[in-house]
């Protein structure tokens, strides 16, 4: 422990580390460990049966696919929203800025019900969309819509500070050097905000995988079609099939961890590239 004893402005390193470890254990690690233990109790054959069940596989596809799609949509439109908020002065800018955080604060079930009301075949938007043959509620599109709503603040709030950092001078400099607006965007702005954008994407993606409340209302929960993994877990629980629930939970945990870890590696690689000498 000696070499960790760096003089610091904040005293009590031992105390704070102890608290951090305890807190993390009590809130995160112990429940996760319980999940792992419980999830590993069934035999390998049982596990395979539970996890490779076609219904389960369809749910993984929907959960991860919709979360990925929603995070991608958010990365694109969240960037535009952040850009608008940072770069332009318009009446009501502060109001819009505050609205961005609403999905954070709103109980997710409320968002889900609201979305369902709007996108249901007899809802405001649902009616219009039904005319052109698009059904949102009770299909996978509805799931994507719900996850997009939930994930938007993550992207906007990550990208905003990075965009503020990109000084106008840089764009002006690029312009006097002969760069076109597209070149300025691609070579100056995008590289500067890419790490933040990726962070926002990761957060939105992670949130999308775990989201339950808003999705269950709009998805219709048709097995094999619009059933997300978290819902499948709840269903197993309601059937007192704790083993299956724990196994599915474990599967989600592993897959999420692998994906987030992969994204983190990409980010770290990007950072290294910027800092390291050479190209």
């Amino acid at each position: 422990m000696r070499r960790f004893r760096q003089p610091s402005i904040l005293p009590g390193f031992g105390l704070t580390l102890g608290f951090t470890t305890f807190f993390l254990s009590a809130i995160v690690l112990i429940p996760l460990a319980a999940l792992i233990i419980k999830g590993s109790t069934p035999s390998l054959g049982q596990l395979k049966e539970i996890l490779l069940d076609p219904r389960a596989i369809a749910s993984y596809r929907l959960s991860f696919g919709a979360a990925f799609l929603a995070a991608t949509i958010n990365a694109l439109f969240g960037f535009i929203v952040a850009w608008t908020l940072v770069r332009y002065e318009f009446p009501g800018r502060r109001l819009v800025d505050a609205l961005i955080d609403l999905p954070f604060a709103l109980p997710t079930a409320v968002s889900g019900i609201a979305l369902t009301a709007v996108f249901a075949p007899n809802g405001w938007l649902g009616q219009k969309l039904a005319e052109v043959g698009v059904q949102v509620a009770y299909t996978w599109i509805g799931v994507v819509v719900a996850l997009t709503l939930i994930g938007l603040p993550f992207v906007v709030r990550s990208v905003q500070p990075a965009l503020i950092e990109v000084q106008r001078d840089l764009e002006d400099a690029a312009e006097t050097l002969g760069a076109s607006p597209f070149q300025i965007f691609r070579r100056i702005i995008l590289p500067a905000v890419l790490p933040a954008l990726l962070t926002g994407f990761t957060l939105a993606f992670a949130r999308g995988i775990g989201e339950y409340g808003s999705v269950v209302f709009i998805s219709g929960n048709l097995p094999m079609k619009t059933e997300i993994t978290p819902l499948l877990i709840v269903i197993k629980l309601e059937q007192f099939d704790y083993l299956a629930a724990a196994a599915l939970g474990l599967a989600m945990l592993v897959m999420s961890f692998v994906m987030l870890f992969a994204i983190n590696l990409v980010q770290a690689w990007g950072r290294r590239r910027h800092v390291a000498a050479g190209r």
């Binding site: 000084q167 001078d169 840089l170 002006d172 400099a173 690029a174 312009e175 006097t176 050097l177 002969g178 760069a179 076109s180 070149q183 070579r187 100056i188 590289p191 500067a192 910027h274 800092v275 000498a277 050479g278 190209r279």
Partner: protein, 589 residues
């Protein structure tokens, strides 16, 4: 000409931040735009680069009109105060950026990169990141990057602003060297006069959006044309003087005599280093100015800095410099070299004789302001008018109070016993306004300002000369005021409706001549308009807008008796309560 600006104007929320600026920069010339912060110099530079759109005027680079050409097609190099290097790119990538967006070949890019890094003496830095370089090095890279596409014009916006003194000087030398070597026309913006002197072939001084003066550094220092330039470039004592046939005196004239009636009030510049101190007036080697008492002595290394207060009433020079002005004499700043100090050591409290080795007379026709009224309270009210306050602060002059019980009374046939105050005499407009103006003109005033003390500082100036003879003095007064008002100006020439066609052409030429003369002699660029009709009607029409506009009218007066006749068309404006301010400039014929 490599850079040519013609009457460039840029407004922010209606206020001109760059106001009618015209400059020409020759091939290979180094021009430094100098001015305090907020003088519009950076905006002007951005306008040349195309980073800011202009509201009026024309920008040409190498004979090509680029007013409506975007920054990326203007082919200029721009260096920013905070370097603006692309932090995610290496030094090499930064320098190659301009070539990369032009899709230059790899080999060409590499050669140019090596060449530029050699030019800024940073060879081998190609693979570093900007964050790994010191501030001075980063700015060198920024210069190299700005030169990569071989621009014909280099623009630098306070490039040394973020650096410390020592690196600043070194980089200054590098930039001067590069500029000479490449022979590239350069404009550099700064607020540091030392920097301007060190770098410039020519210095342009900007203030409140206007280019006040432009010239060789030593010319600007020794022969400034404006108060602002004389005090902004180095230190200066501004003194009021009185010029007559006998020469310049520093004591105001007393009662009217045939001799004093031709005395003209002038503003003189006395540089601290041109002041000579001696024990008595006999010992002075230069022109005696007056006696003074030493107030403060500061040792400043190579020079000694003193402040002395002018004494003996008769020879006291009226104060021009704002705070230093008080009833007990003017504070004068003096610097002496050490040999001078050894010859006559002085201590605070000591009485000395003050001489001037060299005095420069400013060509400005507006010397001081006097608020004139029948009672003291009204004087104070007039003096508090926002426009007078603004002008006196900016022109570093003071507003005298003058109580004249007889002001505004009709002539009694006898020759006047008192002289109107020198400089600009200000009276209140409203009922009797025209009579007050007439009284002042009759008593020898050269410039009379008639204003409502409640009105704000004018946003617009309308200039009109009632005859060709009045044109020159009117323009001189107008340009002097406009340097100190952030207002837009228009020169209005009004001709009778029945003017024959060929006379109209002649008149138009007159007008254009007047404009170019104003630009050449007074450095004033104004919009010009030719109207046909009755001058009183046309002027009222021009002033009808909601905003406050100052009308400057030049009147030719052959004799004092002429005044009433000439004023009649303006009487309605002068007598109106709450009307626009009117400045009458008297032109001697």
């Amino acid at each position: 000409m490599s850079i040519e600006l013609d009457q460039v104007t840029k407004r922010y929320q209606g206020v001109p931040v760059v106001n009618d600026v015209s400059i020409e920069v020759a091939e290979g010339e180094f021009l430094v735009l100098l001015g305090p912060s907020g003088s519009g110099k950076s905006t002007l530079l951005r306008a040349i680069a195309g980073l800011t759109e202009i509201d009026r005027g024309r920008v040409s680079l190498h004979g090509r009109d680029v007013t409506h050409v975007s920054a990326r097609e203007r082919e200029v190099g721009f260096v920013f105060q905070h370097y603006a290097l692309f932090r995610h790119m290496t030094i090499g990538e930064n320098i190659e950026f301009a070539l990369r967006v032009r899709r230059a070949k790899t080999a060409e890019r590499r050669d140019r990169r090596k060449e530029l890094l050699r030019l800024v003496a940073l060879e081998g830095m190609d693979d570093r990141l900007p964050a790994q370089l010191s501030g001075g090095q980063q700015q060198r890279i920024a210069v190299a990057r700005a030169l990569a596409h071989r621009p014909k014009v280099l623009l630098m916006d306070e490039p040394f602003g973020a650096l410390d003194a020592k690196i600043r000087e070194e980089l200054r030398r590098t930039i001067r060297q590069i500029q000479r070597e490449l022979g590239i026309s350069t404009i550099l913006v700064t607020h540091d006069q030392e920097e301007a002197f060190a770098l410039a072939d020519r210095i342009g001084v900007m203030h409140q959006g206007r280019l006040l003066e432009c010239g060789k550094p030593d010319d600007l220092y020794t022969r400034p044309a404006t108060r602002f330039v004389s005090t902004f470039l180095g230190a200066a004592n501004l003194l009021l003087g009185y010029r007559s046939k006998d020469g310049i005196r520093f004591s105001p004239p007393g009662n009217p005599t045939p001799a004093t009636s031709t005395v003209q009030e002038i503003v003189t510049v006395l540089r601290p280093e041109e002041v000579e101190l001696a024990a008595g007036s006999k010992e002075l080697k230069s022109t005696f100015v007056g006696h003074a008492r030493v107030e403060e002595v500061l040792f400043g290394g190579a020079v000694e800095r003193l402040r002395v207060r002018m004494q003996d009433g008769g020879t006291v020079a009226s104060a021009v410099k704002g705070a230093a002005a008080s009833s007990d004499g003017t504070l004068i700043e003096v610097t002496r070299t050490l040999p001078e100090k050894r010859q006559l050591p002085v201590a605070p409290g000591q009485r000395v004789a003050l001489g001037a080795r060299r005095i420069h007379v400013l060509p400005t026709p507006v010397s001081s302001f006097s608020a004139v009224a029948t009672v003291e309270e009204d004087c104070a009210r007039i003096a508090a008018a926002p426009m007078l306050q603004a002008l006196s602060t900016r022109m570093l002059t003071r507003i005298n109070h003058r109580v004249e019980p007889a002001l505004g009374q009709p002539p009694d046939g006898k020759p006047p016993k008192v002289l109107a105050p020198p400089g600009v005499a200000a009276v209140e407009s409203g009922p009797g306004g025209a009579a007050r103006v007439e009284w002042l003109l009759r008593h020898g005033a050269l410039q009379v300002l008639c204003l409502d003390p409640e009105r704000p500082v004018p946003a617009r100036v309308v200039i009109h000369a009632a005859s060709d003879a009045a044109l020159r003095p009117t323009m001189a007064v107008a340009s002097s005021l406009l340097r100190n008002l952030p207002a837009e100006a228009a020169f209005l020439d009004i001709q009778p409706l029945d003017l024959p066609e060929e006379a109209r052409a002649v008149q138009l030429r007159h007008l254009l001549d007047a404009r170019s003369e104003a630009a050449a002699v007074h450095g004033l660029d104004v919009r010009t308009e030719l109207r046909f009709g009755d001058s009183a009607t046309e002027l009222s029409k021009e002033l009808a807008a909601e905003d406050t506009a100052l009308l400057i009218v030049g009147l030719p007066l052959a004799s004092a008796a002429d005044a009433w006749q000439r004023l009649r068309p303006l009487a309605r404006l002068l007598d109106a309560r709450g009307g626009d301010p009117v400045l009458i400039v008297r032109a001697a014929t």
